[in-house]
């Protein structure tokens, strides 16, 4: 065990890549989710259709298959992405497809009276979305988004299978070098667990802040 603990700094170093990837993927996924989620409620059939196909395709195939497809198969169309870009785009779009359903559900869950009231107050449809619907919808999106962020952290481990040296990849290397896979992988799992706990904590704080925000608006 002593000898394994010596490698902890190396694991922490690789954790930086994991955290970096997690943040980049969260951003891509969030944007994709907002766009696709709103697009699925669009007035235009073609927009709804395209968004629907995106969601079904990127949710239907598993994250790893999407990753492999982008990394191995996409170059045949002349698009070669390096492993990092493939990971951010592939996992981002995969999580974004799940997120789109969260966004859609949250927008639909805003009571109909809110739309009617905003319309009665002569809001344009964009103002209605910006000032009335989204602030309430985002509060409802937050708990599932928090879970999704932890899912994204977990999904980053897949990048080790397309040659990136993240926490999982480094753990696998060290397990081979030290001949102590149990100790190494347990440490790796604990590091993931700590990051996941931090993400959950931050998301809960954010959730509470956003809920207060809506509360204030209602009172004012």
């Amino acid at each position: 065990m002593d000898n394994v603990l010596n490698y902890v700094p190396e694991l922490i170093e690789a954790t930086a890549i994991t955290i970096q990837l997690t943040l980049a993927i969260i951003i891509v996924a969030f944007v994709a989710a907002l766009v696709a989620g709103s697009a699925r409620l669009s007035r235009w059939r073609i927009v709804r259709l395209v968004a629907g196909i995106y969601v079904e395709v990127f949710r239907g195939a598993s994250a790893l298959i999407i990753l492999f497809w982008i990394y191995y198969a996409l170059p045949f169309f002349g698009v070669s992405l390096d492993a990092y870009m493939a990971a951010v785009i592939g996992l981002g779009l995969n999580s974004g497809a799940y997120g789109a359903e969260i966004v859609r559900g949250a927008i639909l869950a805003v009571p109909k009276g809110q739309y009617e009231a905003a319309t009665a107050l002569n809001f344009t449809s964009l103002q209605r979305l910006r000032y009335v619907i989204l602030p309430q919808a985002i509060v409802m999106m937050m708990p599932p988004f928090g879970n999704k962020c932890v899912e994204i952290l977990k999904a980053t481990s897949l990048v080790s299978l397309i040659t990136l040296t993240d926490l999982t990849a480094r753990g696998k290397q060290l397990a081979t070098i030290t001949f102590q896979p149990i100790e190494v992988f347990l440490i790796v799992l604990v590091i993931y667990f700590v990051i996941a706990s931090i993400i959950s904590f931050v998301m809960r704080r954010l959730e509470a802040a956003l809920a207060r925000n809506v509360g204030r608006r209602v009172v004012a």
Partner: protein, 219 residues
């Protein structure tokens, strides 16, 4: 033409065979996940505080950490303590524990929804704790959560692709092998992707059908 039909048809039979491995892993993984999930859910209701707390921590830990690393721990770790199993068995165990941890939360919701009076009535009728659980609580707790369990079957199906990382030759692993032999990844990878998308869509419509039948359609 980028897409080579001849090659695609060439690799199809092998991929179809590998899909049986994918489906078998899904089936056995889910079968054991249902059992593990129930055991975990019951342990979380134990009268002993330590069992409740440690089960709760275990579930949270498994749910917050990547399945891939859990599979590595089992695949590379078990031989270290003298246990050797086939990659397929290791994979099924890993999937079952991971998804079982998620499913235990579903069972928990089902168990919590059984009115307390049922337990009290059973106790008043002098049922022992085993009979209370088997004949009174579980028959009421399980049926309402069946639609929710289906989603985890789909999750399990998608997660089987991770078994490719521990040398199980399921569809994705085979696609990778075929691709590196021929330097053509496009066809095998696309076939696998389409297979997964079609299966997920079929499962999703199956679930909607079941939910509509049970009368718990999503709102």
């Amino acid at each position: 033409m980028i897409w080579d039909w001849e090659y695609a048809i060439d690799v199809l039979p092998a991929l179809a065979e590998a899909s049986l491995v994918t489906l078998a892993a899904t089936f056995w993984g889910f079968f054991f996940a249902l059992i593990i999930g129930l055991v975990l859910a019951l342990l979380r209701r134990s009268q002993i505080w330590l069992i409740r707390a440690s089960t709760g921590f275990f579930v949270e830990f498994v749910r917050s950490t990547p399945l891939l690393v859990q599979l590595y721990l089992l695949y590379f770790g078990l031989p270290q303590i003298g246990i050797t199993m086939t990659p397929f068995t290791v994979g099924v165990i890993g999937l079952a524990v991971h998804v079982g941890a998620y499913i235990s939360e579903v069972y928990r919701a089902g168990l919590d929804n059984v009115p307390a009076g049922q337990l009290e009535a059973a106790t008043a009728l002098n049922f022992d704790s085993y009979r209370r659980m088997m004949f009174i609580i579980l028959p009421q707790a399980i049926p309402p959560i069946i639609p929710a369990l289906d989603n985890y079957l789909v999750l399990m199906f998608k997660d089987t692709s991770l078994l490719s990382a521990i040398a199980v030759v399921e569809m994705l692993q085979l696609a990778k092998i075929l691709g590196s032999e021929s330097f053509r990844f496009l066809e095998p990878m696309t076939i696998v992707g389409v297979f997964f998308i079609v299966m997920s869509l079929l499962a999703a419509s199956g679930i909607r059908y079941v939910e509509a039948r049970v009368g718990r359609g999503s709102t």
